[in-house]
């Protein structure tokens, strides 16, 4: 969004890369999303379009919309990797309410990936999305989850972001450890209320299925929702092992350990099937905790050609 691709090179953020692959795997394997290739993907591509490339290649999605609040149309069009991507040069609210239609039989896979802190506009966009997305859709939202406000001003800060959707919480209970759940709760309040309001016409429900927290410099949060039938019970068996999958309002910490290319090769030779302790016996110079984390994520681990900053 908003030319932030000038400041941040989205191709090489490691945790972001893992997150992208996790989301890809999740929507692909999600028990109710048959034919993910028939979905339309909507996201904020920036100049790099990393998510667009992955989802087109891996999921065969060929209806794709990138939303960019920018006037530098030429640069974005120049970098567009595939013909099936349309770029809307406006903000998310306009894209969702003015320029996009949401036919009942055409669900969306939407990822609103903001790289800045949660604010009133983001909540407003989520409200609009929950008013428009049709049954079968996925909604992911990412934002900077840091708490930069001093004690004494935190409830006020949350009120400013969430308005009436503010979770009931006291000033003393808001800190950097609880803020993730608090943000989740406020967002869920807003989404659920707007979903309930649709009941006259749509028997639709929104269930959260994904929630991760990771650091790429700043602490980032990503929450994922599935819009199903009124009484959707999500059978999670097929995706329960996927990191990040949770229906609780508590995020799963995604920690990407740092290894050299050679170390990764050696680790992979012992996977799948070995425990962290077993691997440690062979690769004794690696930290046990790092090995453990790696085992959970090895299939999604980023591959970089320029790995200088990892050696």
């Amino acid at each position: 969004m908003s030319d932030s691709g000038r400041a941040i090179n989205y191709s090489s953020r490691p945790a972001k890369g893992v997150e992208r692959k996790l989301i890809c795997e999740l929507v692909n394997k999600f028990p109710k999303s048959l034919n993910i290739n028939k979905y339309r993907y909507i996201g904020f591509g920036s100049f790099y379009f990393a998510d667009f490339i992955l989802f087109h290649n891996q999921l065969n999605i060929d209806k794709m919309i990138s939303i960019e609040h920018s006037e530098q149309e030429e640069r974005y069009n120049f970098n567009k990797p595939y013909k099936c991507i349309d770029i809307l040069f406006c903000d998310a609210q306009d894209a969702l309410s003015r320029y996009l239609d949401f036919p009942a039989d055409a669900p969306d896979f939407m990822w609103l990936d903001y790289d800045y802190e949660l604010n009133r506009d983001i909540v407003s966009d989520l409200i609009t999305a929950s008013q428009k997305l049709v049954k079968g859709s996925f909604l992911f939202v990412s934002f900077n989850g840091s708490l930069k406000v001093d004690l004494g001003k935190r409830v006020e800060y949350l009120k400013e972001i969430f308005g009436d959707y503010i979770p009931s919480i006291q000033e003393k209970d808001i800190d950097k450890d609880t803020i993730s759940q608090i943000f989740y709760q406020g967002i869920d309040n807003a989404i659920q209320k707007n979903i309930t309001n649709r009941q006259l016409v749509d028997r639709i429900s929104a269930k959260s299925i994904f929630f991760i927290k990771y650091r790429d410099g700043a602490p980032m949060l990503t929450i994922g929702y599935y819009f199903g039938d009124e009484d959707t019970t999500i059978e999670m068996d097929e995706i329960a092992d996927l990191p990040g999958v949770t229906v609780s309002g508590t995020p799963i910490n995604l920690k990407i350990p740092c290894f050299t290319k050679s170390e990764i090769r050696e680790l992979n030779k012992l996977l799948p099937g070995s425990s962290a302790e077993e691997i440690k016996e062979t690769l004794s110079y690696l930290e046990l905790e790092d090995i453990r984390k790696y085992i959970g994520l090895y299939k999604y681990y980023p591959n970089y050609i320029d790995a200088a900053h990892y050696t």
């Binding site: 306009d94 309410s97 407003s124 008013q131 308005g163 006259l200």
Partner: protein, 438 residues
């Protein structure tokens, strides 16, 4: 042996419940609605020329007289004077959209006004007169909840021009009588009726109060090559929902906001509260700088009981699923218009451009015909002002500082005006202290 408690309502109790909290002006408007419904039945083509409603009142009486077709005896004996709308009544099938529903409007209004009323009606086929002395009726301990029609004649032939209904209320309640003698009340009633008039007025129906005809102005909205109103159209369970929103010349902020109509009858006037979404879900609270905003929601159905109004037709029922369905579309419109008119809001548009934007000749009246044209396709709001697009989005900063400090800065900076002090101070800090990526 059990003891039975007589739980039958007394007539007195019933009347007091029925008329509790009923606003006098709303009660009078209810009677006007009935006359207009008569007009709709009489003239299905929607041309109400030469039809009238005359209202007269003073501290002793209230009279409403129309030539809009009258009330048939059959309807009078079985439905019009029952309490509650009988489910046996057939739906009126001629495609008209009526406002009379709950079956209690007329009775409630009459009981609210006074203790003696006469209803005279002539249709083309029959006529009757009904006289009710409320005190006598109440005192009749008989659980008989009937009225007796005096002088009922069926199978007569009356010219259409002579049909109509006349209602006279005397023995007014003390409170009503006091209100009616105030000059202020006359003005306030006129304002109320003009405000909440129905679209039927534009089609020739005239209304007069104490001899003076009412003048109605209808709603207008800017529609031009540069300004395209927001429009949305949908039908849910026989209820048609049409939404139009856009801008109108700024004028008084009193007229800004959302208007909601049910079957052509205005129930919400220029609303700027959370009822129509202001201050909720990311929409800012209304501010006078948004005085140009106009939004109109029209609900229409051959079944008026499905419409989202409250029982007194003075507002919408905000928990009505239909209204809840419309709110997100209203929100879309409000957000679009506020965003597109940002520079107008901040006062950053040149006078020339603003004059052209809001020019008289671009004003379109909202009536049945223009509504139909506007809502044929749902489309977003659009304002097209090329010279504005290239402007950097700006905002005003206003604040106060002690005059002596301002004077010191003026001297130091070598500038004359307060505004220049502010601008220089802003630029100074921005340049020296703020890091940007540029």
């Amino acid at each position: 042996m059990g003891t039975t408690v007589n739980a039958n309502p007394t007539k007195e109790f019933f009347i007091s419940m029925l008329t509790r909290d009923v606003d006098i002006k709303a009660a009078i408007l209810e009677l006007i609605d009935n006359s207009i419904d008569g007009a709709k039945r009489l003239r299905p083509n929607g041309d109400y020329s030469n039809l009238y409603i005359k209202i007269e009142f003073d501290k002793e009486h209230f009279l409403i007289q129309d030539n809009c077709g009258g009330i048939g005896i059959d309807i009078a004996t079985n439905y019009a004077f029952r309490f509650g709308r009988s489910s046996k009544r057939e739906k009126e099938e001629n495609g008209q959209l009526f406002t009379g529903i709950f079956g209690i409007g007329m009775k409630r209004s009459l009981f609210r006004l006074g203790n003696y009323f006469i209803v005279d009606s002539k249709t083309t086929k029959d006529c009757f007169s009904l006289k009710v002395d409320v005190n006598e009726w109440v005192q009749d301990e008989d659980t008989n909840w009937t009225f007796l029609l005096d002088e009922a004649k069926e199978d007569v032939s009356i010219a259409e021009g002579d049909t109509g209904t006349t209602i006279l209320v005397t023995n007014l309640h003390k409170g009503i009588s006091n209100q009616f003698s105030l000059a202020y009340f006359y003005n306030s009633l006129v304002s109320h009726i003009v405000k909440y008039r129905t679209l039927a007025i534009e089609n020739g129906l005239s209304i007069s109060i104490n001899g003076s005809p009412l003048v109605f102005s209808n709603e207008k909205i800017i529609q031009s090559a540069n300004v395209q109103s927001y429009s949305y159209s949908s039908t849910i369970d026989t209820v048609k929902i049409n939404i139009i929103a856009g801008i109108a010349p700024k004028g008084s902020p009193d007229n800004a906001g959302w208007y909601v109509y049910c079957n052509g009858r205005l129930v919400v006037f220029a609303d700027k509260t959370s009822l129509t979404g202001w201050g909720e879900d990311g929409v800012r609270h209304f501010h006078n700088s948004l005085a140009f905003f106009r939004g109109f929601v029209f609900f229409e159905s051959p079944n008026p009981e499905l419409l989202p109004w409250n029982t007194t037709k003075t507002s919408v029922d905000s928990s009505s699923p239909l209204y809840i369905y419309a709110l997100p579309k209203m929100r879309d419109a409000t957000l679009q218009i506020i965003k597109d008119c940002h520079n107008v809001i901040e006062g950053l548009v040149s006078e020339e451009i603003e004059k052209e934007l809001f020019a008289e000749r671009h004003l379109m009246s909202l009536n049945t015909n223009t509504l139909q044209a506007l809502t044929k396709n749902s489309q977003p709001f659009k304002v097209d002002l090329p010279s504005i697009k290239k402007m950097e989005p700006m905002a005003n900063i206003t604040f106060s500082k002690p005059i002596k400090d301002i004077k010191i800065m003026q001297k130091q900076m070598g500038v004359r005006t307060n505004k220049d002090v502010g601008i220089r101070a802003f630029d100074y800090y921005f340049e020296k202290e703020c890091e940007t990526d540029e």
